[in-house]
Symmetry: C2
């Protein structure tokens, strides 16, 4: 038996007991005759005192250094009153060492475990097994375990079955780039790793499983912009005989109860607010707005129909719009600061940024464009934007998508600067009524916004032939604090509707047969109405853990270059292996 | 709302209620004025009666065929006494249809859902979404869900954390063949899919996670002899500060409680019997013996040290042995039947099979070798084998490994023929004290029996240099009804011992660095003593479900040729995809 108790277990009630502990040397304070070691394991820290009277044990303590693995037999005693540590579960006691053994020594670690370093993340990833010893990382992985355990328990209670689907599947040209796996047995053929189990979960509905879920590993070989990983985990779900409202209600209950269980100190507004896609873009410039704060986009277009200002005039003439943000209390921004904001907005695609300041002292509005405006237009703008003295107004005139992107960027930037978002609020919301298809300018055809199995809304079916861009889909996104937390839809379950959509997307019967033949065939044997959703677990845990990248909530993440720095993957392989797989390097 | 109740839910208490059901037409009986449809979903079957008085609904029933998806509004009523079906949960009631709608029609299905077919398995795999509608497959997948859920709940209660490890990892030359994934970002480099998360779980112990588990997908690109799949699922576990007994005790509790919960009608002998590897081979000829029955191998070597029979004599002279099985009640076997057994034993590697029959009528022993024996040898054999009148004795003389293989094969064959194994018993057992290394004749070197991180037993450390073949490992296999249900070991946690084993295995420091550098380095920063095990979930569920292949307990298995017949994977890919991955076909 290596230990009688963990390092987080001993309390006042154990005083006088003889115990055996095992763990890592967290900190060491050497006072000569007396040496104090903080012994650490996943469960906590216990202070162990080595007196030179117990010479053998004292010698072990003398030789020990940080991160040595020790086994200690000792007696629990009360700490002197002045040494009690109220921040530590074991803070009222200490262990007087009687015997000690070094189970394993440690070299000096390249990162310091007992305290957060400011070291480069590359070092943390290379020595991930050391980084993972840190309290923060352990807290994150324990939270992740609890979140996923809660999801499974909840869904099991609700009658869902977890069903494992294969990782080696057929490559489909849809969506992002597949990771491919050459077949050894079938020369020239390849498996793909799933971007999601989308088709398989729909086939499970055809098979009558009614309520399916899986904590599913998914793979996308994308350029790792932003905070992406080559593999990620989603709570993949699908239900039969449901409509959109059934899925929404279930997910809402799941996340409300989950947050209550694992992050009870966080505030979750309920019911989750709902926005249409059109409304989200109009009010926030984003289909995943952070609703923890206002700072809404204000439409000024109708005030400026007759403006002499060419920039506004031209935008409106080209079916564009003029919209702005009223930034409270930033009227003291310098010209240099505003120039920086303009550059920032330009990264978002805007050609420029019009600005106006309502002076705090009640003086006249200063602006970049006032002199070009017509009579009364500036006061109409100030009134519409409910600008108060000391506010900064930022205005973009362009195509709606450009205006939305630029102002969304500015809105999020100012939420950070002004600390508008309460870090202890989890604002879940729904974005509904996504368009079914969007026009692809480059290829001059309609593309599916969600995927080609998403059902159109019944009320819009008559527009499929005449005005497909106006057809809304039975698609819904779960948004959390400005992140997409999961997307889902009701699927097409009738072949005639599926055919209609394929026709619209320019997918010929031959192509459909080649790519989705098994799906189309399955749908001819009694497919039930069904739909689902797939919340992204990495991102949700990241937000619950107050972290800013998903790498902090994954045990062994890869870099932005898709490299595992710890094991040095990917790596070259033997010629023999390539030969077996019937491939050559180019 | 698509339904008010499932098809398995209605009982006598619902009589008089108006309900809405949705499901598949399971069976249809058309009596003209009256049509009876059995409506099916995952939860059960409900009989729905369509009377021609409700003309619209009756018309839907008339048009419906097997596997149509229907929605029905109706009234629950008692069945006439003579129509009550005690085998059906809903057998006391039926639903009188008031309205009906075809949600989706179905073509005639290529396999019949309502009854087990005798159709070719290839058809079942091609139309897996139909095969999975069958009650047996639904029962199997529900059992699988419950088994895995139980494991997770149990381990969570025991303080284990489930931690996800990556699927895209570094290729290692150890063990079976890796599936490889070409990197797009790093030309000429490859990821591998994990054969198991072995290294990563050990690194999690180095990281202090103390108790880890994962329901882990594993991949082996092997020739799919026997009942293997390219991907399979194991309950991957690892614990720190434990010895072999801790792992065994925990696993034993897990499986006892699991079986009690999910297969309460099965008998589980406890505590699990334990055999050493040497004992298992000696008594059963196998390191995974089925202990539900005896039929042990009986060693005759010591009786025959002076035999004149050349076959026995030569085997014993070449450090071989003579062992046999006493098959009860098979003394009536014909010469032809015995010849077939000889051929059967030869497949197992034996050069021949000696046989003897103790006649049921008490006459003299007949045998293939009696005339060659010395005085009293036959009676000594009969006595040693405790043969009774009517028994058949089968004897093999050869090298121990050949004797074991041949008699194991015969033992299992006769267990089947004589139905010796109780199908309602789950006989878990432990095989312990595996050798650490075995001599590889072909390559003239020592190979690790388990893997190169397995710890030698402390008592045998002194043999490492002098007689390595005698060193026993801290390795243990969980065996269930003659299948290996999981293998595990205590790992080496000290670099000096690891070095000693690498030296023995002929792994040079350079090679060790290239292959396991990150592991060796990690072990220098305070690795705790640790060990684990990895029960195979597919096989265990197969046995609990009384199935004979793991394909029956996987939703979407592949064929022996590693093909997914449903989606036709693997498949050719675009030249563009190959180019992006920097590979050519050979």
């Amino acid at each position: 038996m290596f230990r009688s108790h963990t390092c987080g277990e001993l309390r006042t009630e154990h005083i006088g007991h003889e115990v055996t502990l095992a763990g890592w040397v967290h900190r060491r304070r050497d006072h000569g005759e007396l040496i104090f070691l903080d012994l650490r394991d996943r469960y906590g820290i216990t202070q162990v005192v080595f007196d030179s009277i117990t010479a053998m044990a004292h010698k072990v303590a003398e030789e020990s250094r940080s991160e040595y693995v020790l086994q200690i037999r000792g007696r629990v005693r009360a700490r002197p009153a002045e040494a009690v540590n109220p921040h530590l579960g074991t803070g009222t006691i200490e262990v007087e060492a009687l015997e000690a053994e070094v189970l394993n020594p440690s070299r000096t670690t390249p990162i310091y475990i007992a305290q957060e370093g400011g070291e480069d993340e590359m070092i943390r990833l290379k020595y991930r097994y050391l980084d993972l010893r840190r309290e923060r990382m352990q807290r994150n992985l324990i939270l992740r375990h609890r979140v996923i355990k809660f999801m499974r328990d909840f869904l099991d209670q609700e009658g869902f079955l977890e069903i494992e689907t294969p990782i080696l599947i057929k490559s489909t040209p849809e969506g992002a780039r597949d990771y491919l796996v050459p077949s050894r047995v079938h020369p020239g053929k390849f498996y793909a790793l799933p971007q999601s189990p989308q088709q398989l979960k729909q086939l499970l509905m055809v098979a009558g499983y009614d309520r399916y879920f899986q904590v599913a590993r998914c793979f996308r070989d994308e350029d790792l912009r932003a905070d992406r990983q080559p593999e990620f985990t989603q709570l993949d779900m699908e239900m039969s005989f449901v409509d959109q409202e059934d899925v929404i209600q279930l997910i809402e209950r799941l996340f409300i109860e989950l947050c209550r269980a694992v992050v009870p100190h966080k505030h979750v507004p309920t019911p989750f607010p709902r926005l249409t896609y059109a409304e989200a873009l109009a009010r926030y410039g984003s289909d995943k707005p952070d609703l923890r704060y206002g700072l809404e986009l204000i439409n000024l277009s109708d005030l400026l129909t007759a403006t002499p200002f060419q920039v506004f005039q031209q935008a409106l003439a080209n079916s564009g719009e003029v919209k702005g943000l009223c930034i409270p209390g930033c009227g003291s921004y310098s010209r240099k600061q505003i120039d920086e904001l303009t550059e920032f907005a330009k990264i978002g695609g805007a050609r420029g940024l019009a600005w106006a300041i309502v002076p705090a002292d009640g003086g006249e509005v200063r602006s970049s464009f006032g002199k070009n405006l017509g009579e009364g237009e500036m006061s109409a703008i100030v009134e519409r934007m409910a600008a108060k003295p000391g506010d900064l107004l930022l205005i973009v005139a362009d195509q709606p998508s450009v205006v939305a992107a630029a102002l969304d960027r500015l809105r999020r930037e100012f939420a950070q600067r002004l600390k508008l978002a309460d870090p202890n609020t989890l604002n879940f919301s729904w974005v509904l009524d996504f368009p079914l298809v969007e026009w692809n300018e480059d290829e001059a055809r309609w593309d599916a916004v969600h995927h080609p199995f998403t059902a159109p809304q019944d009320a819009d079916m008559h527009l499929m032939a005449t005005d497909p861009g106006k057809v809304r889909a039975k698609a819904y996104d779960l948004v959390l604090n400005g992140y997409e937390a999961g997307g889902g839809s009701i699927r097409i379950h009738r072949r005639d509707v599926q055919q209609q959509l394929f026709d619209l997307l320019g997918i010929t019967p031959e192509l459909a047969q080649a790519q989705f033949g098994h799906m189309l065939e399955a749908f001819e044997y009694g497919a039930p109405p069904h739909g689902g959703i797939a919340p992204g677990i990495d991102r949700i845990v990241m937000i619950l853990a107050d972290e800013s990248t998903i790498r902090e909530v994954m045990a062994f993440p890869k870099t932005q270059q898709a490299v595992d720095l710890m094991t040095a993957a990917p790596s070259p392989v033997d010629e023999r292996q390539l030969k077996e797989l019937h491939i050559n390097l180019r």
